[in-house]
């Protein structure tokens, strides 16, 4: 498929990759541009259907109002949680600085 026909341009792929903190090679950018375009192209076919009699749905399962009562359930221990952390300090997760510019 030629670049011209792609619904998702290479620039858009790079933008989304940046938001997702992914670094892609040129080949991957090309590949994903094509694959994402295919997916959107398929979604576009749905536009041809007459859906005027169907209200928009936000979820494929027809359920609403699924609740839990406000009752405390015991949490897991700090040790168990922190044991999984790559780095910790005094029971807290230690992560690289957030704002460093």
């Amino acid at each position: 498929m030629s670049q011209k026909n792609n619904l998702i341009s290479k620039e858009q792929v790079l933008h989304v990759a940046k938001l997702a903190k992914l670094s892609l090679s040129d080949t991957e950018v090309e590949l994903f541009s094509e694959q994402l375009s295919h997916i959107l192209g398929y979604a576009n076919e749905l536009r041809d259907l007459d859906l005027s009699n169907y209200p928009p749905t936000s979820h494929p399962i027809e359920l609403e109002n699924i609740f839990r009562e406000d009752v405390v359930i015991e949490s897991i221990s700090n040790k168990k949680v922190i044991d999984n952390a790559p780095q910790s300090s005094n029971g807290q997760f230690l992560v690289p600085p957030i704002l460093n510019d």
Binding site: H59, F67, R68, V71, N78, P97, I98
Partner: protein, 490 residues
């Protein structure tokens, strides 16, 4: 009011006007978090109130807390909003305070829309929406200098992650820092009265983001706005807004552009500083949360919530006003009524007046004398309080005596007024006793009495002073005045 940054009195500044919209985040007082059964509690050991759901571990699923929805609806009703069917969205961003790498929030279809808040001066601020979302974890930045920009590492505590929040977004109807403070104060009082939140800014259970822009007065289009994050006191809110208005006007006046960005208020420097510039980072790629179904509160449930929720602030103030509306001082008492209700003493007031005490005097005693010990005041027995106020109104105890008895009553709310009177040896100086004292005084101070008889009313104070000296402040000044006037008029 002191004017800061000279922004309002400098003529070149007067051609600009600020536009301010506020986002207020309030934590809900549920027992558990929004999506899991972890305890909702402030000030616990870090990372002890967490589970696979609020840590965002693979395979865990959120289930909506019914009480949180009820509280959100209470807030919506108190803010005159429409409560509507809504859905949840994922707001995607990379920031370690959200372990899932997204925050579950409401986007285009929030639970509450289109409300308003009436400020105490009568002005109105529109509420665009009040939606449900989860709080993030708490990050502490490590650095040798203490500055956020120079931090070397960040510590994360997820106890707060997943605590239910309602975010209340105002319309850009606010035009000054004073109005912003007045709005937040009134909003806080309203939502605290619903019982849904405790509104403690100092503990971070109520946090404010301010969107500020300025434009020339004749310009229709709004100026470029900056968002100031996480203002956690009314004082910082006011200062940050004043600084930001001034900064933007100075930029525009020197032909520079305001850049749309997120800013942080530095309390020490008293100024706002850039946190991040809005560009791609603001692309949150919202999409419907597939792990949650839609929220569609039935009319029946909303009605039940409305019926069972605590009385609205505005109605509580009205109930007090009804009782004092015949008072001559009514117009000066409105602020006092608000204070009474904000301090949760209105129920006690209404009960006390129900026992026959004078409403105006009861209001004054509760908001002045009891103001320094609110917690004790809440425990006061309304019948005893009414008894005390009645003793004062009928002149059986003086106002000084009454205040002394009340302060003893506040120290031990289970003691009776009569027991305090006998314990403190408070003597009631009735009109007869006072008249006797006055008769003796008049013989001693004939010159003064003659001046009074000749029409010099200032001498009344002199006699009150003398009587007070003799009774160690236990006589009623009003009685002294009345008796003297009776003597002069024959």
């Amino acid at each position: 009011m002191t004017i800061q940054n000279n922004s309002t009195d400098d003529s070149e500044y007067s051609e600009y006007e600020p536009t301010i919209g506020l986002e207020v985040h309030c934590e809900l007082k549920t027992a558990t978090k929004l999506w899991c059964g972890c305890k909702n509690s402030f000030g616990e050991q870090p990372n002890t109130l967490i589970c696979p759901v609020c840590l965002g571990l693979p395979g865990s699923l959120p289930v909506l807390n019914k009480k949180a929805v009820e509280y959100a609806i209470r807030i919506g009703l108190a803010l005159n909003c429409t409560v509507q069917p809504s859905i949840f969205h994922r707001k995607n961003y990379f920031y370690p305070d959200m372990p899932k790498d997204f925050q579950i929030s409401q986007y285009d279809i929030p639970i509450n829309t289109d409300g308003y808040v009436l400020l105490t001066d009568g002005s109105k601020v529109g509420i665009v929406r009040a939606h449900i979302e989860e709080d993030t974890g708490k990050s502490t930045h490590f650095s040798s200098s203490g500055r956020i920009h120079e931090s070397t590492a960040t510590l994360i505590d997820y106890n707060r992650a997943g605590i239910p929040l309602v975010e209340i977004v105002s319309a850009p109807d606010i035009t000054s820092s004073e109005m912003a403070k007045s709005y937040v104060n009134e909003l806080r009082n309203i939502i605290v009265a619903t019982g849904a939140t405790d509104g403690k800014m100092e503990e971070g259970s109520l946090r404010v983001d301010a969107n500020v822009s300025v434009k020339k007065k004749d310009q229709i289009e709004l100026g470029t706005r900056c968002e100031i994050k996480n203002l956690n006191s009314l004082r910082s809110l006011g200062k940050a807004i004043d600084y930001e208005i001034d900064r933007q006007i100075q930029l525009l006046n020197s032909q520079k552009k305001v850049i749309q960005q997120t800013r942080h208020f530095n309390e020490d420097l008293n100024q706002t500083v850039t946190l991040r510039t809005k560009e791609e980072a603001e692309d949150y790629r919202y999409f419907p949360e597939p792990d949650l179904v839609s929220l569609n509160p039935t009319g029946e449930w909303i009605n039940e919530i409305k019926l069972n929720m605590p009385k609205l602030l505005i109605d509580r103030r009205q109930s007090v006003i009804e009782l004092i509306k015949d008072s001559k001082e009514m117009s000066q008492l409105i602020g006092t009524v608000n204070t009474l209700v904000d301090q949760q003493l209105d129920t006690l007031f209404i009960e006390t007046v129900g026992f026959g005490s004078d409403p105006t005097l009861t209001l004054k005693r509760l908001t002045n004398e009891a103001a320094n010990s609110i917690d004790a005041a809440k425990k006061l027995n309304s019948k005893e309080l009414a008894y005390l106020i009645n003793l004062e109104t009928s002149g059986k105890v003086s106002s000084t005596q009454s205040k002394a008895i009340l302060s003893n009553l506040l120290e031990n709310t289970s003691e009776t007024v009569d027991s305090i009177i006998s314990r403190l040896n408070i003597q009631s100086f009735g009109d007869k006793e006072i008249e006797q004292l006055l008769d003796n005084l008049i013989l001693e101070k004939q010159d003064e009495f003659k001046r009074f008889v000749d029409g010099d009313d200032k001498v009344i104070q002199f006699f009150i002073g003398q009587v007070m000296k003799l009774t160690k402040g236990q006589a009623n000044g009003k009685s002294v005045t009345q008796i003297l006037l009776k003597k002069r008029n024959g």
